[in-house]
Symmetry: C2
DNA sequence: GTCTATATAGGGATAGAC
DNA sequence: GTCTATCCCTATATAGAC
């Protein structure tokens, strides 16, 4: 939205660490924007990272599936970690406003229910991004540990980090904290851990049922 | 390669693929059995695999932390995958009787609640083993894809596989299936995804609260 | 049973032609 | 922008001494 402060030029720049939010995001409106090589790299990488895991995916595989060579990838990304970082930024963007609401104001089960509802929508629309995050925690942790403090500084808190912080907040009653964790887990399990067990259910139906479960858990 | 088919030399030491249930399992009785090098390798490997991920952990690290060399490890395990497999078998053993009850008889939310209660106890007692499983899905999937069909055949169904099967069982009402997934996710989130957010809570208190949440979800 | 030394492979990354 | 060719490093795994 209004945060495209530094929107870099279109195509020339390699090492585009500052343009994280303008690829083929299969957004709610379904607009598949640019089909540049850079975004295609990210799409293929996302698929592979989710399917085989980051560490078990080589740049050669990404390049082959794309019909280019490894060296071509290095024109757009300075390292393999850089690709992961770019994908991480996509996810980051997704949870931005939910994060904002979590940062301001006191935490309550009511707010939590509201946020969870919103986040669930994003999860349904961007399953792969969340799966990437879930299935490559080790790699992402290393990413945090290293450099790139420019774009991923303290103000840019992770959704996961924020959730953690809230769940550990002792000013919130223990029962509520646990119920919040449970409700998140309930959503998470249905959308990501169930695999294709609910493939016969539409996203809308699934969403409704899960929302109902969340309400029961949070008592709202 | 490491495709040693049906090696099975009936000696005591190396390649003990057939003795999965006799290491230092911190079992319910708390008996820390043998402190053999083999079991110490598994303990250290478990810690590292959980902490850094299987793919990011080298045999050199395991050896160093143990005060031996890589070659020593190969005396006890035929490959790195073999170590992961041995740990996987530990977990396998843990969920054995829960699996049996799931295999027999019809599935119901009541049975599910019962099993979940039981499994939660195991989870609390063997957190690392479950974390290993959660954080190294990619590696474990590859393990399934390859050989070792001897010990890990069709009859030895995975807990995860069994859960999947039940959740996909269309003879169970959709609402129940979803509630079952939710309840598992609720447990999972509190025990494994919350990190140290609930470090201030005793396992007993945590267990009670989670059980309460599960009851609300399943309506039992 | 544990070591030293080594074989072998593959991955990430860079240089420079086109 | 993409390619070919190559460097360098680390990892798994093996051979054989002690």
């Amino acid at each position: 939205m209004a945060k495209s402060a530094e929107q870099v030029v279109a195509e020339a720049p390699p090492d585009a660490r500052l343009a994280p939010a303008s690829e083929t995001s299969g957004g709610p409106d379904g607009t598949a924007e640019v089909d540049s090589t850079r975004s295609r790299i990210l799409d293929v990488a996302l698929d592979l990272f989710v399917e085989k895991g980051y560490d078990r995916t080589s740049l050669r595989e990404i390049a082959e599936r794309l019909g280019v060579t490894k060296a071509a990838i290095y024109y757009y990304f300075s390292s393999k970690d850089d690709i992961l970082m770019a994908l991480h930024m996509r996810l980051h963007e997704v949870g931005r406003e939910a994060l904002g609401r979590l940062a301001r104001g006191p935490v309550s089960v009511a707010l939590w229910a509201d946020l969870l509802d919103e986040v669930m929508g994003e999860m349904l629309a961007q399953r792969s991004l969340f799966l990437l995050h879930e299935r490559n925690q080790a790699a992402l942790e290393k990413l945090h540990g290293t450099q790139h403090g420019i774009v991923h500084d303290a103000e840019h808190e992770d959704l996961q980090q924020a959730f953690h912080r809230v769940l550990a907040d002792k000013s919130v009653p223990l029962r509520d904290r646990i119920r919040m964790a449970c409700s998140f887990g309930a959503v998470f399990a249905c959308l990501f851990m169930a695999g294709d067990a609910f493939a016969d259910v539409s996203d809308d139906d699934l969403g409704d049922q899960v929302r109902s479960a969340v309400r029961d858990l949070l008592g709202v």
